[in-house]
């Protein structure tokens, strides 16, 4: 469809974790300037900026970033798509390049989330002095905890259990094993919020949040930012040999929302929109799941990682349990998944996640991932889900011979 190829020229994430001394703009600026430097360009080269930040209120984050590190008058797009916000920013900048409107684009996601606790399902207010119906379901008081759960660890627990019910073989221990893998992977990632190996007993014995998800099986709230500089294929040809060698081709950039299906307004369906996005991405990139050297997928909870093996077609339909048990998704396996440590251990500063996972993949495709390098990686996939719902899938390919 588009006439221009899109490449990632530079990208960077900050360290994920608690940044007590740094505010949202400190983190966003650090990632932005580092990504520009990584690409060998400056703010003056950018033709568009797209940025997202979910917890900062009404602040126009894209303009705030410009005010912090370079006001050049370019169009600024503030995007919001829950946990898929970063991927959405990337896609907006990429579309502008694809359409021929921009040579260079900048995408940034940033979040201050350390110590935030549960992100959905607010405190229950005291019931009213007289019952009064509110909302589109006409409840007379708070529903969370009275008619099911609103909290994410509970919602995604049900999503994993639903898969277990459909196909069998998924139990507490299996989900905890998935978490053990990601915590183990994180020990090689110096930018991860947590990089501690955990035993199965430690994971299963930790504080239960929503069965079967214990605390280490939930994504880690933390602070962090990620940024990426995109460039058109035409422009890239005019840049240095070194820039061309390190550039990563965006072979597919897909964003989907959830199509209507029975039950999707009762329990979010994170499966169909991911499967549709994956299918479109493989088609656009001309690669298949078997070609992937590594995958960063949205393991917001251990129960979520399992279903996405299937949704991204890394295994046969219904085969996610066997796929995991075969060892395929460990960094030594046939399709390493979340070698960064994933959201459970690397951390999940929500608006940054959809760019941070792209950074991780690029890092490997450039052969710059140090001790955690997946040797010879040439093709990778980055996936995010934001509830209610948005799914971003990017397929990235090495540009060096």
């Amino acid at each position: 469809m588009g006439s221009e190829d899109v490449y990632i020229l530079g990208t960077r994430t900050t360290k994920f974790g608690k940044h007590k001394e740094h505010d949202t703009l400190d983190l966003a600026t650090e990632a932005t300037l580092a990504a520009l430097a990584d690409g060998g360009v400056t703010m003056k080269d950018m033709n568009i900026i797209a940025a997202g930040n979910l917890m900062g209120g009404a602040m126009a984050i894209a303009q705030a970033i410009q005010k912090a590190c370079g006001q050049t008058g370019i169009p600024a797009y503030n995007v919001s798509n829950a946990c898929a916000t970063g991927a959405t920013a990337l896609r907006v900048a990429g579309m502008s390049i694809k359409a021929g409107e921009s040579d260079f684009g900048l995408a940034v996601g940033v979040e201050k989330l350390a110590g935030a606790g549960l992100l959905a399902g607010g405190s229950r207010k005291q019931d009213g002095k007289s019952w009064e119906r509110t909302g589109r379901y006409g409840a007379v008081a708070g529903v969370d905890g009275r008619i099911g759960t609103d909290i994410m660890p509970g919602v995604f627990a049900q999503i994993g259990m639903e898969y277990g019910h459909k196909y069998g073989g998924a139990n507490f221990e299996l989900f905890a094993e998935i978490s053990r893998k990601n915590h183990s992977h994180s020990t090689l990632n110096p930018l991860a919020a947590y990089s501690k190996e955990m035993t199965l007993e430690e994971i299963m014995g930790d504080v239960m949040i929503a069965y079967p998800n214990t605390r280490p099986m939930c994504s880690a709230n933390c602070d962090g930012a990620a940024a990426a500089v995109l460039v058109s294929g035409t422009k890239l040809k005019t840049l240095s040999q070194e820039q061309q060698r390190r550039a990563i081709k965006v072979s597919a950039s897909i964003l989907t929302s959830d199509p209507y299906e029975e039950a999707c307004q009762v329990l979010p369906n994170v499966n169909t929109l991911t499967r549709v996005a994956a299918k479109q991405a493989y088609e656009q990139a001309g690669v298949g799941p078997e070609d992937l050297d590594l995958v960063e997928l949205h393991d917001c909870f251990a129960t979520a990682e399992l279903v996405h093996y299937d949704n991204l077609m890394l295994c046969e339909e219904g085969g996610a349990v066997d796929f995991f048990k075969s060892g395929a998704s460990w960094r030594t396996g046939s399709t390493p998944v979340n070698v960064s440590g994933g959201l459970q251990s690397k951390g999940h500063p929500i608006a940054a996640t959809g760019i941070a996972n792209v950074w991780e993949v690029c890092h490997h495709l450039r052969g710059e991932a140090g001790p955690r390098q997946i040797e010879g990686a040439r093709v990778g996939l980055a996936h995010v889900i934001g509830l209610a719902s948005a799914c971003g899938v990017h397929i990235l390919e090495s540009n060096s011979a």
Binding site: L118, G121, G122, S123, R124, K125, Q126, D127, G128, K129, S130, W131, R133, R136, Y137, G138, A139, V140, A141, G142, V143, D144, G145, R146, I147, G148, T149, I151, P153, G154, A157, Q158, I159, M161, E162, G164, H165, F172, V207, M208, I209, A210, Y211, P212, N213, Y260, E262, A263, Q265, V266, L267
Partner: protein, 131 residues
């Protein structure tokens, strides 16, 4: 006897308490909330349908940690009631994976959650293990 009202709009009280949904007359999609149009086909004509009071647990979680003011632990579940999915708590069962099972048959039950200052009692629903 004090006045009783359903906790939520789609619960019908009376001798045989049950849930009701808005069903799109064009495509049959069912919704529990107030609708402007159908998410499946954009149709705007709906009829009210009764939902079976028996079902099976398709997914569940046992919430052990929730926002302040919410009693834990409780069992949250998605129950398949004859092809219509319902979000609910599973009640009258020990909140433990030894007692709540995927696929287990359950049936609708109702219970009071409290009275307001005028003495009006709100009645909520849940699903409990079916014998």
């Amino acid at each position: 006897m004090s006045e009783q009202i359903p906790f939520i709009n789609y619960l019908v009280l009376g001798d045989e308490p049950h849930l009701v949904a808005s069903e799109c007359t064009a495509c049959g999609a069912r919704f529990f909330d107030r609708r402007n149009a159908c998410a499946g086909c954009s149709g705007t004509d709906f009829k009210s349908v009764d939902i079976p009071t028996q079902g099976e647990v398709r997914a569940f979680t046992i919430v052990a940690f929730a926002a302040p003011g919410i009693e834990v632990p409780f069992v949250s579940a998605i129950v398949d009631c004859g092809g219509t999915s319902v979000r609910t708590n599973i009640v009258n069962v020990e909140p433990s994976p030894d007692h709540v099972k995927l696929g287990m048959p359950v049936k609708l039950t109702t219970f009071p959650i409290g009275k307001d200052d005028e003495g009006v009692e709100a009645i909520n629903f849940g699903f409990e293990p079916a014998a």
